[in-house]
């Protein structure tokens, strides 16, 4: 832990994440304007004392929209990776612990899932289902668990030969308990690293989807769909393009920095 905080880069990553989460949680307190308050008279105002980051085409306050957008982006990132971690641990543990045919089947399944270019699969599913935030979280989670499954499998393959596992088995502990209590907690290090980096990737995917108009649907603000609006006012309103992109960039950077720091701490051999 001390090691973790000593590293300046990791610390700055953590600070970025805490700050962004603070914005997201306390959005109603921070914002003077509602994110969907339309004020046509004041459209495309440049940043000023009243509208800190300016206004958009409909006169909505950009700062408020971005703060509320943080809620969407962060929750999509966290929930979808949560789903991916659960599925990944389940399949990885299954394959690693039981081995044999189960292992072959699960790992082939992983290989097959990896053949599909992720955006293609995500877009196809979102298009067939419904582009709402729940579907987006689920689809990103369902298409992002393969790396975690591989990690858990590899860890468990080496852990299950160790003495404490044999001891547990000799005591008559059930398979499920061995996996859940003894193996997974010992294998979790690399998963935490990969999940932290995964949050960053999921935020990028969500914002790309929303930017393409297939993600979070307006009027709900998300960093991606603000940028979609920005595309139409590219020549006139630089603030519409600059700030949401910067927010995505900084948040993703924060998670990446934290993930790399965790890697150094939790997986010193690598």
């Amino acid at each position: 832990m001390i090691n973790l905080l000593r590293n300046k880069l990791t610390l700055s990553g953590a600070i970025i994440i805490v700050l962004m989460s603070f914005f997201a949680v306390f959005a109603p307190v921070i914002c003077h304007y509602q994110p969907d308050d339309i004020d046509i008279g004041n459209y495309l105002l440049a940043p000023s004392a009243t509208h800190w980051l300016g206004t958009d085409l409909l006169g909505r306050d950009l700062f408020s929209r971005m703060v509320y957008g943080a809620r969407i982006s962060l929750s999509v990132g966290l929930v979808s990776i949560g789903i991916a971690v659960v599925i990944g641990i389940f399949f990885g543990a299954l394959a690693g612990y039981y081995g044999g045919v189960i292992d072959t089947l699960v790992m082939r399944f992983v290989d097959i899932m990896l053949c599909f270019p992720s955006i293609f699969l995500i877009l196809a599913l979102v298009a067939l289902l419904e582009p709402n935030i729940m579907v987006i979280m689920a689809v990103i989670g369902l298409t992002g668990w393969m790396g975690i499954a591989r990690l858990i499998r590899a860890e468990i393959l080496s852990l299950k030969e160790r003495d404490f596992v044999s001891a547990a088995r000799a005591c008559g502990v059930s398979d499920i308990t061995i996996i859940a209590r003894h193996l997974v907690p010992n294998a979790i290090g690399p998963v935490i690293v990969s999940a932290t980096l995964g949050v960053a990737a999921a935020i990028l995917v969500e914002s790309s989807l929303s930017f393409l108009g297939i993600g979070v649907q307006p009027p709900t603000p998300s960093w991606g769909n603000i940028l979609m609006d920005a595309k139409s006012s590219l020549g006139v309103a630089w603030w519409m393009t600059l700030f949401p992109g910067l927010a995505i960039f900084i948040t993703v950077l924060g998670y990446n920095l934290l993930g790399e720091g965790l890697r150094d701490t939790l997986m010193p051999r690598a």
Partner: protein
């Protein structure tokens, strides 16, 4: 070598079956079951679309028969006709592939051209100012949303400076240009999309190359080479670089799905008529036959890329051929 090839090809069979199964499951996510229509007044997919889907994929038949029918379609490369213009899906995709392939190959070339020297130099000068700068660059590359970078570059080079066109792949007067004019015109249109799809991959490969090279430089044989007084140049380029470059072949193969994914974003931003744009338009129009076609062909291209990378690797590194022989 032949037996390695045979084994590697045999591995393709379960993967191909798996791709057909997953894409089959995806079709079944399609909305518009007869029950839905009563529930939803605001129906995105009309009953008519549902009927066409049922006819195309035989959705009213038993599951087993549906799957067999889908499998036969895949084998015949027949994805039906597009809902939007009634042209065969396969034909629509095939005419779009060259553009996407060109952009991706060019950006792959750029990635290799820059990532390898930068990564190697960073590793050789580990901890130097240059290495630190490159680490910062790698973090920026990983965190940069490509579509945002595309917007910024479009704004700067297209809207502000008017240096480069911001959409399409050829100008209005293209047909009247000379040969060189035509090539120049393509280049001007493709420059930004290629740069953008190269950018993210560049960060990834630079870092990978650096890690590899650092690892190789710690090996005993490098110490031996140093100890017997070989020149640094010979150590770096002859002994270290060769070994550090080997795994890059695999990584290039693995980066194909990412590149194809990226083309959806860059092609739809720059309105380039490639596979990515085709897919994006199909998604927006809920053109299911095209969506399914691109999904399956995208997966096949990935599979092909990985296969090519594995075969290339086994040519480059005999250990792979021999090691895989021992495994059952």
């Amino acid at each position: 070598m032949l037996s390695y090839l045979a084994r590697r090809l045999a591995l393709l069979v379960p993967l191909l079956i798996g791709i057909s199964l997953i894409s089959f499951v995806v079709i079944h996510c399609a909305p518009g079951k007869p029950t839905d229509v009563q529930d939803q007044l605001n129906q995105k997919v009309s009953l008519q679309v549902r009927e066409r889907l049922e006819k195309l994929y035989g959705l009213d038949k038993p599951l087993g028969e549906q799957y067999l029918q889908w499998l036969v379609r895949l084998c015949k490369l027949d994805f039906g006709v597009s809902f939007s213009d009634s042209r065969p899906v396969t034909q629509k995709i095939v005419e779009r592939i060259p553009i996407t392939l060109t952009i991706n190959l060019l950006s792959l070339f750029l990635i290799l051209l820059f990532a390898v020297p930068i990564g190697v130099w960073s590793a050789v000068r580990e901890g130097s100012r240059f290495d630190q700068c490159m680490t910062v660059f790698v973090f920026i590359g990983f965190a940069m949303p490509t579509f945002w970078l595309a917007l910024l570059l479009m704004k700067f080079f297209g809207v502000t400076l008017h240096w480069l066109p911001v959409s399409g792949i050829r100008s209005l007067g293209f047909d009247y240009y000379s040969l060189w004019g035509k090539i120049l015109d393509y280049a001007r249109h493709l420059l930004l999309p290629v740069l953008i799809s190269a950018f993210t991959g560049l960060a990834g490969l630079t870092r990978y190359m650096r890690t590899n090279m650092v690892h190789v430089l710690q090996q005993d044989y490098i110490r031996t080479a140093r100890a017997k007084g070989l020149s640094l140049q010979r150590i770096y380029f002859h002994h270290a670089l060769k070994n550090a470059l080997l795994p890059v072949i695999t990584v290039l193969g693995l980066s194909i799905p990412g590149l194809i994914s990226g083309s959806v974003i860059s092609e739809s931003i720059f309105a380039i008529p490639g596979m990515g744009k085709l897919f994006y338009d199909a998604v927006m129009a809920r053109d299911y036959p095209v969506i399914m076609g691109v999904l399956v062909i995208g997966a096949w291209l990935t599979l092909l890329g990985n296969l090519a990378a594995d075969i290339a690797y086994s040519f480059a590194d005999p250990r792979i051929r021999i090691a895989s022989r021992k495994e059952p």
